[in-house]
């Protein structure tokens, strides 16, 4: 209970020689084990890894060029040559799904990174200065952006800037940052009342250091759960925008564009739409499961002693 350590200190090593942090390798190992312990965290992690592999190594994994047209064999059903069949231009759907992973992963990670960094930064700073003019301004900003329905706002931005991958990322990040901001601010309001923050203030620590060292790490738990869920959501949004023609531009293979191409032929060549839809659904589930596992794993209080 009291004297058992998680990682034994090597005998003879003077503790004062140690870094005060636990070694990174140990932390990662413990985290990984904890995530995997959570039900579903393992499967989520596996699927996301598969997606990452597809995204990074698409050139090597995919059996054919996603843009190679073969009009002779269009609308072909699933076969040994084309695992998922071909689309209306004879392109191999399986390859397009794999390349679609790349778009999905890119969109998910970049939009979420941008919106979370901006949102959390604004949220923490305004929360710590609760009641000040800065706080009121930031809340006002959040409310303005949030009052637009997300899809309308994203559509409007892409319509103005023109459909492209970059603009999709910008639009989606912009609609999402207040979400993170609100969470970060709400968490900051409660965390800043904690005794350890008071202790830091009583020690004479400057506010910026208090924010970085004490407040930000302790508000991240709900943010991280959000991150995971948000990545899933962003994949769906991108698909939606591309489906409407306001996303990535063809002939880029994104799952959304594949939906757009395929829905016209749903009665005859249903495989054109089933596979991208399944990919989107599975990606969503995977990210949700994994993010829940990650949250549990990162909470030091829930660590196995």
């Amino acid at each position: 209970m009291n004297t058992d350590t998680a990682e034994p200190i090597e005998a003879g090593l003077d503790p004062s020689q140690l870094m005060f942090k636990r070694k990174w390798a140990d932390t990662l190992r413990v985290t990984f084990r904890a995530v995997v312990k959570v039900k579903g965290g393992l499967w989520g992690g596996i699927f996301i890894s598969v997606m990452l592999i597809c995204a990074i190594g698409a050139q090597w994994i995919s059996p054919s060029d996603p843009n190679a047209q073969d009009i002779m064999h269009r609308f072909a059903g699933p076969s040994l040559d084309n695992f998922f069949g071909t689309d209306y231009l004879g392109r191999d759907i399986f390859s397009r799904i794999i390349y679609g992973c790349r778009i999905a992963v890119l969109v998910a990670f970049s939009t979420v990174s941008i919106s979370s960094i901006v949102g959390v930064f604004l949220g923490v700073v305004s929360g710590y200065n609760e009641g000040s003019k800065l706080d009121y301004f930031v809340i006002w900003l959040f409310d303005i952006v949030r009052s637009f329905p997300q899809i309308i706002l994203a559509l409007a931005i892409v319509a103005v800037l023109g459909p492209s991958l970059v603009n999709v990322v910008v639009a989606l990040a912009f609609t999402a940052f207040p979400f993170y901001g609100r969470i970060a601010r709400a968490q900051t309001l409660s965390v800043k009342e904690a005794d350890y923050v008071k202790a830091a203030e009583a020690m004479g620590l400057q506010p910026i250091k208090i924010i970085l060292r004490h407040i930000t790490p302790n508000i991240m738990a709900p943010v991280i759960v959000c991150l995971g869920m948000d990545m899933a959501t962003m994949i769906v949004w991108e698909s939606g925008l591309s489906f409407l023609g306001l996303g990535v531009r063809p002939p880029t293979a994104s799952w959304g564009i594949m939906l757009r191409n395929g829905y016209k032929y749903i009665q005859t060549s249903e495989w054109m739409i089933i596979w991208p839809a399944l990919a989107i659904a599975l990606a969503m589930i995977a990210f949700s499961l994994f993010s829940e596992g990650l949250r549990v794993a990162l909470d030091p209080k829930e660590r196995e002693r």
Binding site: T5, S16, R22, Y196, A199, G204, P217, N218, R303, R305
Partner: protein, 329 residues
Amino acid sequence: MATKLIEIRNLKTHFYQGKGLLSKWFGKGLRTVHAVDGVSLSITKGRTFGLVGESGCGKSTLGNTIFRLVEPQEGEVLFEGRDVVKMDHKELRKFRQQAQIIFQDQFGCMNPRMTVGQIIAEPLLMRQSVQLRQEELGQKVVELLRAVNLDPDAIVKFPNEFSGGQARRIGVARAIALQPKFIMADEPTSGLDISTAATILNLMQDLQDRMDITYLWVSHNLNQVKYMSDDMAVMYLGKVVEMGETKDVFSQMAHPYTKALISSVPRVNADGRTSTIFLEGEIPSPINPPSGCYFRTRCPHVFQRCKEEEPPLVDLGGGHFCACHLQSN
């Protein structure tokens, strides 16, 4: 010649409840919490000053105000002659390295995401004049852990891996890191078992003897205050009702509240103690306290003057003060 390390003069800290527009329009008098309402006392260097009182008496707020974690409306807090309330950033930082707090919540006062080593090292890293190298820092932390009888391999553990008593000791190690002159201990044994509490009390006394620390001991446990403190003050609804050397306060019990408080404390040895005085009614709220003497609504000896006039703190001789009209008669 005993020096006064801390001198508090007529300190008032009020909180305004309600941030909305209505309270701004209708004036702040409506819902003001008179947390600290005109407190004056002095703490002598090298001694322990006990501060007792029940819920709503303002002892926590008084502590927070001394450290300027909350700004007072009126009054002075003199630390070695300089007023903390008026200090600028630089001076305040220096003060905060000489005065430390041991918090009531032994786990809550530590960042759950920092290791114990980082927690204890944090104040050391803040001292501007000395640049410590990694090994020296490590050695200092180990020294501090040993000073509170903790195993040095705690350095890489997280706070939640420890028991209540051990967590309390980590807090003490952090507090003594910069060899402060003054430590406020806020309910230092709350939530601890009898034997664990005894360990902490012994430890705090040893540290005081070795490092010549002045303690402000805030507690509702009167047995503990009688044992630990040299001087003490009893607070009620933001005011000091009785103050003086602990032995005088306990033997004379000049104020009716002190008498009731001390007689209510359950003790194993009932040797020579007066029978329990049971107060009627509940502790009033610090919002809109009663007129005149705040204690009059529960006092068994209340008379007319108590309702009209607030009793001043009167010197009964030998540094023993009491705020009660009965004493002036």
